[in-house]
Each structure stands twice: as structure tokens, then as C-alpha cells.
């Protein structure tokens, strides 16, 4: 920490201690607190949104990959003449195609139209928070100088220059503080009110991309329906039967 930085930090720490002790008046700005509250609320939600969007893409990628690997394994399980061998190879073709599409379209569209804009929006908040922190510091400076002026007024000093000097300083620190305050109180509502128009295209793109992906998956899987013998109703218990057949083998007993 530089020398100024340290000096400022010490000054501010002193001021905030004195404020909590009631020795220095603290500026309470209700209007700003509301804005700040809204900013924080929006920040949390945007971060969550970004996280969920990312999680979705990861899950879809994981699913697509796992499914493709499964189709490979299934084909390896079958040998020539297996009744479901044809279905296995058809399934493999379908999911490979699907995985390619997912990479080429879903992934790209989703990244460009959903993740990237969300990331950009989420990336705005640190800048706002930075400004918020500076404003809080400048406010402390302002409160300190103000109480300093008040003290001089209450107990006039011998030095006639002291009051004008302190007042000048007060004007300066007020101006600096007001600058940040105004900046934030105009910028936060701007950010809050742009959220829906900003996010709407992402939202639409997201839903449309997901529709496309699921539609394509549905079409592809539906097209190979005839390769499967039944409609999936008689599957219950089948795998259990096979497993118990295996369990009956003495080589499968635990040794």
C-alpha cells in the first residue's frame, strides 16, 4: 500500500469508528441505499442466471457425449446376428449425428447468444461495485471534512484562515462525492431498466435453440423406432431376469 493510500485508509477508518461512536455525523442516503440494494439484487440474480445457463450447456454436452459412448459400447456388445444389432447401429448413427449437430449448432448458438451476453452483463457489476466502493470512501472523506468544519465553527480558531480553508476543502470533497453519487444514482436505474430488453433476445435464442435441439433429437430417434421390437412396455423386469440367471452360475458366487 502506498503512503497516500495508507493515510487515506487510516483517516477513513478513524472516521467510520467515530461515526459509530456518534462523534461524527453519518450521511444517510435512503435513495442511494435503495439503488444499491437493487444493484446487489440484480447482481445476484444475473450471476445465478449465468451459472445455470452454463450448467445447462455442460449437462447437454455431457449427455451427448455419454450417449455417444454408450452407443459405441452397445455395438461392441452385439455380434453379427444379434437381434438388436441393427437397432444398435442405427442408434449409433443417430446419436453421432446428434452429437455433431449439438456441437455445431447448439453449442455455438448457445455460447454466442446466451453465455456471452450473460457473461458481459455479469461483467458489468464489478465495475459498478468498484464505483460503489469509491463512493463510500468519498462519503467518509466528506463526512469527516464536514464535521471538521462544524468543529471550527463551534470553537473558532485563532487562525483566521482555518475556516475558509476547511470550507474550501468541504466544497471540494462534496463535489467529488456528489460526482460518484450522481454517477451511481443515474447509472444503476439505467442498468436495472435495461435488463429485460437486454436479456430478452438471449432468452428467445435460448428457448429456440433448445427447441431446435430437442426437435432434432426427437426426429432422429423417432425415425429409428421401427428397428426396435416392442414399444418399451415389456422391459420391466427383463434385465433382472438376466441378472438372476447370471447369479445362478457358480462362477458368479462371491468367492
Amino acid at each position: 500500500m502506498s503512503w497516500h493510500g495508507l493515510k487515506k485508509a487510516v483517516n477513513r477508518a478513524t472516521t467510520s469508528v467515530m461515526q459509530s461512536a456518534g462523534a461524527v455525523d453519518k450521511t444517510i442516503d435512503r435513495e442511494f441505499e435503495e439503488e444499491e440494494k437493487r444493484l446487489k439484487s440484480l447482481e445476484n440474480k444475473t450471476d445465478n442466471l449465468h451459472r445455470e445457463a452454463k450448467g445447462y450447456l455442460d449437462a447437454v454436452r455431457g449427455m451427448s457425449l455419454a450417449q455417444q459412448r454408450i452407443s459405441e459400447t452397445i455395438n461392441a456388445f452385439y455380434e453379427e446376428g444379434s437381434p438388436l444389432g441393427y437397432a444398435g447401429s442405427q442408434y449409433k448413427l443417430a446419436v453421432t449425428k446428434l452429437d455433431e449437430e449439438a456441437r455445431a449448432e447448439l453449442d455455438t448458438n448457445y455460447r454466442i447468444a446466451v453465455l456471452d451476453p450473460l457473461g458481459r452483463l455479469a461483467g458489468v457489476f464489478p465495475d459498478f461495485n468498484e464505483a460503489r466502493k469509491i463512493r463510500a470512501k468519498k462519503l467518509l472523506d466528506y463526512d469527516r471534512v464536514r464535521s471538521n468544519v462544524r468543529k471550527i465553527v463551534e470553537r473558532p480558531s485563532d487562525d483566521p484562515n482555518r475556516l475558509p480553508r476547511a470550507e474550501q476543502e468541504l466544497a471540494g470533497s462534496k463535489e467529488i462525492y456528489m460526482h460518484y453519487n450522481t454517477l451511481l444514482t443515474t447509472e444503476i436505474p439505467k442498468l436495472v431498466s435495461m435488463r429485460v430488453p437486454y436479456l430478452d433476445p438471449c432468452f428467445q435464442a435460448l428457448v429456440k435453440t433448445q427447441l431446435k435441439f430437442n426437435e432434432s433429437a426427437h426426429t432422429k430417434l423417432d425415425a429409428i423406432r421401427t428397428a426396435f421390437p416392442n414399444d418399451g412396455k415389456q422391459l420391466e423386469g427383463q434385465v433382472e431376469d438376466v441378472l438372476s440367471q447370471m447369479r445362478e452360475l457358480s462362477i458368479c458366487a462371491s468367492h
Partner: protein, 451 residues
């Protein structure tokens, strides 16, 4: 290992070593080896299948969960912001005095005060978007609920059975190990029996040992044959059952996956038809709005700083520490403040003042000057100056999310990695080349943020 097990292992060790070095003969059973390699292949496949089946099911359920939570969060964002009780802030957020204020109280305050809020702060309402978001959330929650039983079927008829299958395979594997051990025993006893038997002049004790060796050999042979026979009989059956095993798993996967995508397809189709203009594709619709969206971001003065800095001072942040970076930012603020207000005359006033804060404010113009012309710095600025650069500056970008690379030559990185940009194009949607952790490669320019 039991004492018995240990002593057996010790007894087998010399033979194993001798066999490995080719000194002692080892029984080779071609038929069995074939069977064993088939089994090994099956084991490999089964393990892969088990792993992927679990991953598939987990990803599917994660997908549904993320979808539903995204939708829910979107609704929260779309609703007027302060009207909702806040989420708990994520850990690691710096606590400021403002954070410490109780959320509830703040909400109350806001509601109480919102009547008096000036018109500029009234949030525009977006009933249409909000309705779409709410419908989306509802549909996602419904879809998730509807599909959860199906996920359970996938779990019950595919994931759980494969785990069971692996357990059986492990049992067989243990038996195979046992056979291998018994085979060593057999070889060992046979060798010592043969050696003694072929000894040209046997004395009495040799004869006695020979008969005891013979009986050990007999026992070893019996034990080995037992295991060997069982395996030879049953292993083909076990391997043969694999198809019968995979059939129902595969069909479960197919039918339930079909059901999932069908449900989701209808659910999204319904949603899109009700709320969106389907004559444009996702990409078209987004592209049409892209400029507008970026414009909105540009409108934010506070955020623009971040963008502007990336263009001329991206290297600065790397050079100095966080604390100095903060100082510097403050000066940028102060500088922009003075510029925008065109009140240069306000600044000398601080310089004239003799109060402790003087140093801070008086540093502003000097620092700014030094900032613009690296090299010229007064004593007051020396501490807060980033080192003037003499070498070409390196630009870094921070990854916004993970990127695993789609092809050979793609750069791989994790979220928040710092990437050194080697070559970039003006278009952020293009591929740039960069370096991270000493590896050079291509990466999409839109996955990063300057800083």
C-alpha cells in the same frame, strides 16, 4: 491376508519368478486363454457402459434441473427487481456496511419509499416478456416433474443393473485369479515331482518324498481342475448372456430417451408458438438484436471504463498490485470527473489547502499527466505509477468460462484463466491466438473479458 493365504503366496513366489524368467515351465491352455481374453473384453465394455450410463443419467437430470432453475431465475430477473426478498449473497462477497444491513429492512424501506421515487427511476414494465418467462418457468418445472419418473426408470433399469453386472464380473474375476493361483500350484508340484522322479539314483528318503510329492501334485491337480472346469463350463454362458443383458438396457435407454426428447420438444414448441415469433431462427433473432444489446452496455458509463481500458491500457493492470490498481482507478475517475465537469480550476483549490487530504487530490493532475506520458513523473506520483513500459505491452484477457477446445490446436483453459493474447482480430466473434500456461493455441474471442 490370512496366515494361510500368506504362506501360500510365499510358497508360490519362487515358481512365479522362475516362470516369468522362463526357467520353469508354465502350463498354457490355448482354449482357456481365448475365453479369458473374451472375458477381459467384456469386462472393459461393461465398465465403460456402467460409467457412461451413470453419466448419461446424471447429465440428463442436471440438464432438467438447470433448465428449471434458469427459468425460475429469469422470472426473478424479469420481475421488478426490488419487489423480491433477496437471495443469500454468495460466500466470498466483500461485506461492506451496506451488506450488513438487513435485507428485510431494506425491502421494507424500498416499498415504503417507492411511492416517492422520481419518475426517472420507475422501471418500465415488460408484461409480455415477463409472461413468456413465467410460462417458460412453468413449462420447465412441469417437464421436469413429468420426466422425473422416467429418470427413475432409467436408473432402475439401466444404471442399477449395470452396477450389479459389474459386481458379478468382479466375482468372476476373483475366480479367474484363483484359477491362476491354482495353476501355479499345479505347475510347482508337477515340476518338483518330475525333477525328483527323473533323478537317476534315488535313495530311500527320496522315494518317500516322491510319494508325498505325488499326493501333493494330485491334490493340486484336483483343485486346479475343479476351478478350471467350472470356468470352462460357465464362462461361455456368462459371456453369452451379455447380449441378453444389454438388450433390455439398450431398449430402456432408447425408449426413455425418446420420451424425454419428445416431451421437451412438445414443451418447447408449445412455448415458442405461444410467445415467440418463429419465423426467425435463434441466430437470426439474436443477430438482429445484437447491436442494440451492445449499445445498451455501451450506454453504461461505469462499465465503459472497463471496455475502454482494454483498448489502451490492458497491460497496466498486470504490472501493478491490486492496491495500486485501485488508486489508479480512482485517479481515472477523478480525471474523468474533472474533464467532464470542465472544472480544472477546482483542482488547484485542493492543492492550496494544507489539510491532510491535500496529497491525494493534488496528485491527481500530476498522476494523470504521468499516466499519459510514461517516464515523466514527479516524486508524488512515483509510488502509484505503473512502471513505464519500454517493451511492447502484452495484452491479457480473462476467460469468462471453460473452453476445452473443439479441435487440435485449440487453446484449452478454465474460467478465470489469464490468457496472453498473441494475435487478435477486431471481431470478437473470430478466433484469436493466445497462450495460457505456456501452451499456445486458438480460442474464440468471445469467451473472454479484458482486464
Amino acid at each position: 491376508m490370512s496366515w494361510k493365504g500368506l504362506s501360500k503366496a510365499v510358497a508360490r513366489l519362487p515358481t512365479r519368478l522362475a516362470q516369468r524368467t522362463g526357467y520353469a515351465s508354465e502350463t498354457v491352455d490355448q482354449e482357456f486363454l481365448e475365453l479369458e481374453s473374451q472375458f477381459k473384453r467384456l469386462e472393459g465394455m461393461a465398465r465403460k457402459f456402467t460409467e457412461d450410463a451413470k453419466k448419461f443419467k446424471d447429465s440428463l437430470s442436471a440438464m432438467l434441473a438447470h433448465q428449471a432453475r434458469f427459468a425460475e431465475m429469469l422470472v426473478q430477473v424479469y420481475r421488478p427487481i426490488a419487489a423480491l426478498p433477496n437471495q443469500t449473497p454468495p460466500p466470498g462477497m466483500p461485506r461492506t456496511s451496506i451488506d450488513a444491513l438487513e435485507d428485510e429492512v431494506m425491502e421494507e424501506d424500498y416499498r415504503a419509499a417507492s411511492g416517492a421515487v422520481s419518475p426517472s427511476k420507475m422501471k418500465p414494465d415488460y408484461p409480455e416478456s415477463q409472461a413468456a418467462a413465467e410460462a417458460f418457468a412453468e413449462a420447465m418445472v412441469a417437464a421436469r416433474e413429468q420426466l422425473l419418473p422416467d429418470l427413475q426408470v432409467i436408473e432402475r433399469q439401466m444404471v442399477a443393473p449395470t452396477n450389479e453386472y459389474i459386481m458379478l464380473i468382479n466375482n468372476v474375476k476373483r475366480l479367474l485369479d484363483k484359477r491362476a493361483r491354482k495353476l501355479v500350484d499345479y505347475d510347482r508340484h508337477r515340476d518338483s515331482y518330475q525333477k525328483l522322479k527323473n533323478k537317476p539314483d534315488k535313495n530311500l528318503s527320496d522315494e518317500k518324498r516322491l510319494s508325498s510329492l505325488e499326493s501333493s501334485l494330485d491334490q493340486a491337480t484336483r483343485e486346479f481342475n475343479n476351478v478350471d472346469n467350472i470356468l470352462k463350463q460357465e464362462l461361455p454362458t456368462f459371456i453369452g448372456l451379455r447380449v441378453a443383458f444389454i438388450d433390455p438396457c439398450f431398449q430402456t435407454l432408447y425408449w426413455y430417451e425418446l420420451k424425454v426428447v419428445e416431451t421437451l420438444h412438445h414443451c418447447f414448441a408449445d412455448l415458442c408458438n405461444k410467445h415467440f415469433d418463429m419465423s426467425v431462427t435463434a441466430a437470426q433473432g439474436f443477430d438482429a438484436k445484437y447491436e442494440e444489446m451492445m449499445g445498451m452496455l455501451q450506454e453504461l458509463t461505469l462499465a465503459k471504463k472497463g471496455y475502454r481500458r482494454s483498448e489502451y491500457a490492458a497491460g497496466d493492470e498486470n504490472a501493478d498490485g491490486a492496491e495500486e490498481g485501485e488508486e489508479q482507478q480512482q485517479q481515472q475517475y477523478a480525471a474523468s470527473a474533472s474533464e467532464s465537469r470542465r472544472s480544472e480550476d477546482a483542482l488547484p483549490a485542493y492543492e492550496a489547502s494544507a489539510l491532510p487530504s491535500k496529497a491525494t487530490y493534488s496528485a491527481t493532475p500530476t498522476a494523470l499527466a504521468a499516466f499519459r506520458t510514461p517516464g515523466g513523473s514527479g516524486s508524488s506520483t512515483s509510488q502509484i505509477q505503473p512502471p513505464p513500459s519500454t517493451t511492447p505491452r502484452t495484452t491479457y484477457v480473462i476467460a469468462l468460462y471453460d473452453f476445452d477446445g473443439a479441435e487440435e490446436g485449440d487453446l484449452k483453459f478454465k474460467k478465470d484463466d489469464k490468457i496472453e493474447v498473441l494475435e487478435r482480430t477486431p471481431d470478437a466473434n473470430d478466433w484469436w491466438s493466445g497462450r495460457v500456461k505456456g501452451v499456445t493455441g486458438q480460442f474464440p474471442g468471445y469467451v473472454d473479458r479484458f482486464g
